[in-house]
Amino acid sequence: MPRIKIDHTKCTGCRHCEAACSLNHVANTVNPRRARIRVMRDGNRYYPVIAGPFVDAACTSKQFIVIGDQTYDMCAFCRASCPQKPYFIEAETGIPLKCDFCGIPPSPSCVRWCNTGALELVED
């Protein structure tokens, strides 16, 4: 199955992927808040997160994530379009957003515009 591999160490936080995604899904429109990929930032670092479905179960097994010398709240990297945070939900309609790999066969527009190699389409 194809999936998008994320290497956060390569991400520069330029958010070109967000622009690409919204342009591809809403005709002629750019709005990062309507994108299905968002770049979370925390201090010095950036973490691209791709939208996925929301299931209650994920929250019950919530953990803290340790990267380097910092501890992060898992919610910050969670891909669920969950009601707790304003990500991956169409602001006007409330419809949850989910990555669709930009069609069949997959040709994700975010990967195409990501110039640093932080996003990569892999087959496994």
């Binding site: 936080g13 330029c14 622009a19 429109t29 709005n31 930032r41 110039n115 640093t116």
Partner: protein, 605 residues
Amino acid sequence: MNGWIGRCLRVNLTDGKHQIEKLDTDLLELYLGGRGLGVKVFTDEVDPNVDPLSPENKLIFCSGPLVGTGAITGASCNVITKSSLSGGLACAKMRGHFGAELKFAGFDMVIIEGQSELPVILSIIDDKVKLVPGLEYWGRSTAETEELFKKNLGDQWMARETYLVSIGPAGEKLLPLANLVNDRFLSVGGAGIGAVMGSKNLKAVAVKGQHSLQVADGSRFVQVINTLINKLNSAPLTSQSMSQWGTTFLVGLCYQKGILPRNNFRSTSQPLKNIGTEALNSAFALRGRGCFACPIACIKKADVKYSAFEGKGMVPTYLAIGTLGFNCGISDLSAIGMMSMLCGEMGLDPVATGGNFATLMELVEKKAVTPEELKIDISFGNADSMIEAIRLISTKKGYAKRLGQGGMAISESFNMPEIFMGVKGLSLAPFDPRAIQGMGLHFATCNYGPHHLYGYTFIDELLNVHENLDPLETQGKASLVKRYQDTSAVVDSLGLCNWPLMGLKFNNYVPMVNSCLGTNYKADDLLSIGERIWNIERIFNMKAGFNMGHDTLPERFFKEPIPDGPAEGQISHVKEMLPEYYQLRGWSEQGEPLQEKLQALGLEE
């Protein structure tokens, strides 16, 4: 509207009221946005002779039409005001994400008028425009301000998406060297702007929003951007040098050509071993950071390894290394990193600050003043005391008051104005104009002082990207300078970054502009818009008191040949090139725009 949001926010700090206005579409056609539109509105509304620090001066933030649309490097927002350092127009480019977020917050332009009685922060978050009491932020560094503001928002998700531009203690104290700092550590390169914002008692502007931007022809736009990204990737400078080291890669190149100045422009050979990019790699753990939609990501973050400072910093750029470092005789990269970091925290402009200290150091060397009188051992190569002094001047306490008035004021107060290496009151960017003639002409004639961001002739003169020019040659440089100056005006007005031009031709931008805005511009149409902008800036500056006499360089560059290094023996030939430049611009011999030219540009009064 395509590209533009079409709305402008006008905030009056005196009575705390604001109103939302529609942008005039005719003006957008003539001036595009960003720098062009901002300058047009500013010059129409503000008297050229206004005191920069008075409530009558205005401060304009203006994003370009391509900002936030995903157009490559469409990220910049320009800040326009009358500078408290030069007394002329100031226009500084803000990188990072603030510009794009301003558009998502629903505005192309924010005009700030008047003067608040107490410190405030202008918050434009989710369509709510508020003036937040700023007393608890006053006196804090730019980084602390941002942190505290976000904490006070209460909602961590909202905080993550909010972007801030603020002044540091230097701006609050109305120091002429002060500038703005956005996204935590990006300095907005324009001295004197921070003092204007400080005089308005405005500590910061915060933006966030959910507005959508429209693009005229989305599918074509996406295609164009795909090709542009490929082009950038096949050009060595943008894909490797800039991506890997940022502008710092210029240090080595400029050194080899004798362009990198040392000790207040009195030498170009550095007795230094560790100035190359390898030294940079070993001094800092580099990590790229990009402005909105930038495939290059030239901004480098790092941990500054310096005993006196434990924090996160940004790798010094070419500008910081040149002005705070070598031109002050300092070659320790970690100390330079520390200084540039401090400048960011305090809200000081690195170029103006470096120039300020280089002047002071030469005064000390020439014995016009002793370190005892200054109460601090300022001398070439003394990094520790310079770090100390940077801290001191931004608090403006006691004797430190005298140290931070700007290079020109300091040199004049000791009756040695010839020691100040600057034009129109602003310090020179670190390019020795004797070793790179075109840049010298640009420095002399630029509306915003001697800064390479308003005319990047070094792309051809030094890097030989589009043309293979000899930096020492004067032939053809006048037209090169004009072309690059007009280009910079257009690029800034569209809201794009200049650095892709190290890999792309200006013409490559045109399809991107047209598919985004739904226009039919040709490259020449855009360049003539640039020329129009350059001319209105010039006219404003002339009304503010600048004339042909200001289009020159410090005497040192005409009289003293470079004493050493690869460009040994060179002097500047600006005076010979100036008449040709005026002629190409369609200006009189006194440098005044002629009636025919104004008519052709649609500017006749």
